[in-house]
Symmetry: C2
Subunit: 249 residues, 2 copies
DNA sequence: GCCGATTTGTCCGTATGTATC
DNA sequence: CGATACATACGGACAAATCGG
């Protein structure tokens, strides 16, 4: 259940929009009328609306109202929004997800690993290689590095189910944010083997490199996700800011 | 100059962080002290901070403070964040950008175009093919469709400089948001020719498909941007939300 | 073109809750 | 336990944009 009023309102409106309660281009009820509906203050409905704006569901127009611009993206086989574990996103997309652990080991970060991941040299790490299947098709090959001190007690069994579930529910870690960089890279023999690719067909793939931080401000995860190119799709909603100018202070 | 107080504060803090005024992991001054510094209300500094959170510059920790987690991404040759014209992003990255117009024509959306772009069948459109150079290297091949009624008077000369500048400053359009989907696709002969690629080397590329909306709520642009894989990098900061549950209402 | 009603945008002050130390 | 810090929520004031009469 939602922890806060604004979140409850946000989810309610979001669901209504997804279910088509508002026509495309239609204006949502005004802030004033939402205040009546939900019995809350103006700030609270405004906060809910601003989240819908970030999601690309609505746009606000001063003097007019809040317009529904939601567009269902049917074609996207597998999308990402926010931080999600593979288990969560396969559930959200009503697909059957499965994870196979190819490798599980502990290691100490040497110079090379430290440079690549950003973990300090000498850090104790878990290193995993995992293959994610969606509807029995191997789609993603993950190379995970977890800081051992933050993910203490991780096992292959956990890694087969959901590492995030373990971190959040068992270790009570709060996962905060993730800096991601997406690139296109050549496929390797490992990719070819496990993702059942043919280098004569596609010879590159989508790679998402992410550094994830917890509530203690420590980067506890470095992951490289290698995605089958033909099943990869990444969605995003961008909001225009005015081109930057210098500040006052 | 910033139109609002919170934006001025946001930019000031952002600049200080980028310039290294705060050590990594260091806590920023507390909200209370920022109120003194900027002479404003608590809501106003909170709003500025929340934008920094979206940018992935800081993380807020209840009971502790606001922590600097900014990490300069030196390796990214060309990054995207928010909606930017090619001209703007090359300026931001201090690179020399140039645009070559390969094709410029008007056309009427037929069934096929309508299906692919989302413009209604029969819409009058401008179709452009443009090649973007960064430091004299061709990096991006764009296929742009603009709604003629929204971009009236567009010429190849304008398209060579900056279409967004024309739309915003001359036609006084407000560009609001852009729904983007990123995929990996096979390269075509056109890509090979203009982006100076070799299919024996890389045979795919990064493709960003975007639908952009203006202040009137109409989708005025459909663009497919085809990026050289070896120079492509897309940055993103994701924030963890709790896995979704059903709402109350 | 002006005026007033409506709607969103910015900003303020305050109160209370919750987490950290 | 108290002090500090961020999170949520409320209510109010004024500005700015839109729209209809």
């Amino acid at each position: 259940m939602p922890k806060s009023k604004y979140e409850a309102i946000y989810r309610d409106l979001k669901q209504k929009i997804e279910e088509g309660d508002f026509a495309s281009q239609e204006l949502l009820p005004s802030e004033h009328s939402l205040i009546q509906t939900y019995g809350c203050s103006r700030n609270t409905v405004r906060r809910a609306i601003s989240e819908l704006v970030s999601d690309g569901y609505v746009q606000t127009l001063q003097g007019k109202g809040v317009r529904n611009i939601f567009r269902p993206v049917a074609q996207a086989a597998f999308t990402i929004g926010g931080i999600e574990s593979f288990k969560e996103s396969s559930q959200r997309n009503h697909k059957k997800g499965r994870t196979r652990v190819l490798q599980f080991m502990e290691l100490i970060a040497d110079e090379k690993i430290s440079l690549r991941t950003g973990f300090e040299k000498g850090s104790e790490l878990y290193y995993l290689q995992r293959l994610h299947y969606l509807d029995e098709k191997p789609l993603i090959l993950n190379h995970n590095y977890f800081l051992k001190s933050a993910a203490e007690g991780l096992t292959p069994e956990i890694a087969e189910d959901s590492i995030y579930e373990y971190l959040e529910n068992i270790l009570h870690m709060t996962i905060v944010n993730s800096q991601r960089i997406m690139t296109v890279e050549k496929i390797t023999q490992i990719d070819e083997k496990y993702l059942e690719l043919d280098a004569n067909d596609y010879n590159c793939m989508a790679v998402i490199t992410s550094r994830t931080y917890n509530g203690d401000g420590v980067m506890f995860e470095f992951t490289q996700s290698r995605h089958r190119p033909d099943y990869f799709s990444f969605q995003d909603n961008a909001i225009r800011k005015s081109p930057l100018v210098r500040s006052d202070f």
